[in-house]
Amino acid sequence: MTGARMVIEALKREGVEIVFGYPGGAIIDVYDELYKTPEIHHVLVRHEQGAAHAADGYARSTGKVGVAFATSGPGATNTVTGIATAYMDSIPIVVITGQVPTKLIGNDAFQEVDITGITRPITKHNFLVKRIEDLPRILKAAFYIARTGRPGPVLIDLPKDVQQAKGEFNYPEEIHLRSYNPTYEPHLKQIEKAYLLLEKAERPVFLIGGGVISSGAAPEVRELAEKLNLPVTMTLMGLGGFPGDHEQSLGMLGMHGTYYANMAVAHCDVLLAVGARFDDRVTGKVDAFAPNAKIIHIDIDPSSIQKNVKVDVPIVGDCKRALTRLLEMIKEVGKPKKYWKERFKEWWEQIDIWRRRYPLSYKEDPNYIKPQYVIEKLYELTKGEAIICTEVGQNQMWTAQYYKFKYPRTLITSGGLGTMGFGFPASIGAQMGNPGKLVIDIAGDGSIQMNIQELATAMDQKLPIKIIILNNGYLGMVRQWQELFYEKRYSAVKFTTLPDFVKIAEAYGAIGMRITKPQEVEPTLKKILSMDKLVILDVIIAPEEGVFPMVPAGKATTEMILV
């Protein structure tokens, strides 16, 4: 069997049904085998970055490993932003790139680039395959590494002569890597310590991050939160890990988190953090973050623990298993629900005061559409049942604040890397992986232009994605920083030329619409949500609307600018 065929056979064994990619000279042999394999559906993108993001969006929305193909040289380098995006958010994707023949490697051959060298710091692991004998094991290892432990992207660089070489295809059923053994089962002593802290707590907060979503721990999070009557706050990556419409939800914390979430964290005495890594956008000034709290930190990646904040009870393990053990211990001790309800009554009274004092809010304006209103309406009309992808910037933060994500894997957003141009190609992956579901991309007029070429891809696949552009004619988040911290020196944030997004939609054969008045929002949203076609809705919003609350970078999270 040829190396190229082995790739396809391995994909079949791994249950891969969809591949996103773009062919080229160095991967043409793999594409030749793909041609003979109708059971694997290939999505031809318009730029390799789109392929990586689509594979990522597919992985985030389905929980399966996403796969992307690209050729050598520029094809491979174009995937770099997509790989880094997946790496920062721990998303399992496998990227297979073609490479020049082994004897030409290092010769500066046509379309040669050292992609394993380039992607070394942004992949969980990568491989350059030099011998056909190694290929089956490497393919198996790539999928295994991508999906286990703390998930992440894996790249396989496959020289053309290895694709053409023949060898025996012994695909291992299972693989054991002596140097890679993630810890799933938590240490019970640590779980006990965590329980004892919670038992003594008077003002606990439950903080959940993306690890809850990737380990499928949302049911356990809810059970624990409800059993102990804990207030729950989420990082951007954790949204959907606990229902945003639940009365115990405080919404997101951090730079653009809610006032009450940040206040609760600042005043808590025990912080139970699960699958979160205390990013600077979450902690603000580290010394002032949860200053009075004992911190329990559950994470599968030991290097995430004690990295940014000092932790009192570190627990290395899978979030789902660790929470299950903790729940078992709570049941064993057997304090009734009523006990916990009573215990944290005062704390909840305090939190409710904060909630009433500064709920999320914005000023309405009869002349302008407010972006927050658009998201609120969208939430109402979709009843929180849609898969929402976002770009990066204000559009992303308004979505995080005003769409109450109810389920895991319904918010698809670039949290760690903050990649503009991510949302739309990711929505292609999400829609491919969830054919019957409503998939919406919330965009800004800046970020949508970063991968707008993928409209052709979405049309090819007849995907009824809804793109809602919150169009303020600015690179809004940068403009907001300039307004607040640079005395309104609006340097390079205003586009002189903005395309007519309605015409762009029509040029691709999609539907384009534009609204400018608040009263158009609800009826137009209703209309587009019922359409079974790709729609771009260009929403002209108040040009200088900001995202609030806001914690200035490097400040304590209690030092919020509130509207």
Binding site: K124, N126, R178, S179, P302, S303, Q306
Partner: protein, 165 residues
């Protein structure tokens, strides 16, 4: 927090790119490498790496965890923390050995049990092995004679077995 020197003993898969991953980890995350020494082990599929680094406890903890996170890294031991260990380094020193100081250098080598491994009309190459202090003492003594070139291996380290098991 106080900075301390830390000697790490690392076993890593003997695969292409493994060393680049480790070096990249240190530069990418802003950690220091004071010295690095790599060679094969008895098992040819594993390489052994002795790495000397610096940092406060929190940074050293991160360095160790980040190393363990690499898929190719099999084992990381903080030799300094484990306590009793032997450290050795070797240096080759090319020193000016003119008529007037040839004898003196020769005697110095005897006292310190150094080996003269190459002799030319005007130079010696001296091999010195020992811990860091010994190497530095020898270098200081030879410096006035005129050191032309010096090459050091970097530290290697090994844990001692317990004397009273």
């Amino acid at each position: 927090m106080a900075e301390r020197k830390c000697t790490l003993s690392v076993l890593v898969e003997n695969t292409p790119g493994a060393l680049a991953r480790i070096a990249g980890l240190f530069s990418g995350r802003g950690f220091n490498i004071d010295s690095l020494c790599v060679a094969e082990t008895l098992d040819p599929t594993l390489s052994h790496l002795t790495l000397v680094t610096r940092g406060d406890d929190q940074i050293i903890e991160q360095i160790i965890k980040q190393l363990r996170r690499l898929i190719d890294v099999y084992k990381v031991v903080d030799v300094t923390e484990e306590g009793d260990f032997v450290e050795r380094e070797m240096a080759l020193i090319k020193v000016r050995a003119e008529k007037e100081n040839r004898e003196e250098i020769y005697r110095l080598c005897e006292i310190f049990r150094l080996k003269i491994v190459d002799v030319s009309p005007r130079t010696y190459i001296i091999e010195v092995t020992g811990d860091k202090e010994k190497l530095e003492a020898v270098i200081e003594l030879l410096r006035p004679m005129g050191i032309k070139e010096i090459v050091r291996t970097g530290l290697i380290a090994m844990k001692r077995e317990k004397k009273n098991p």
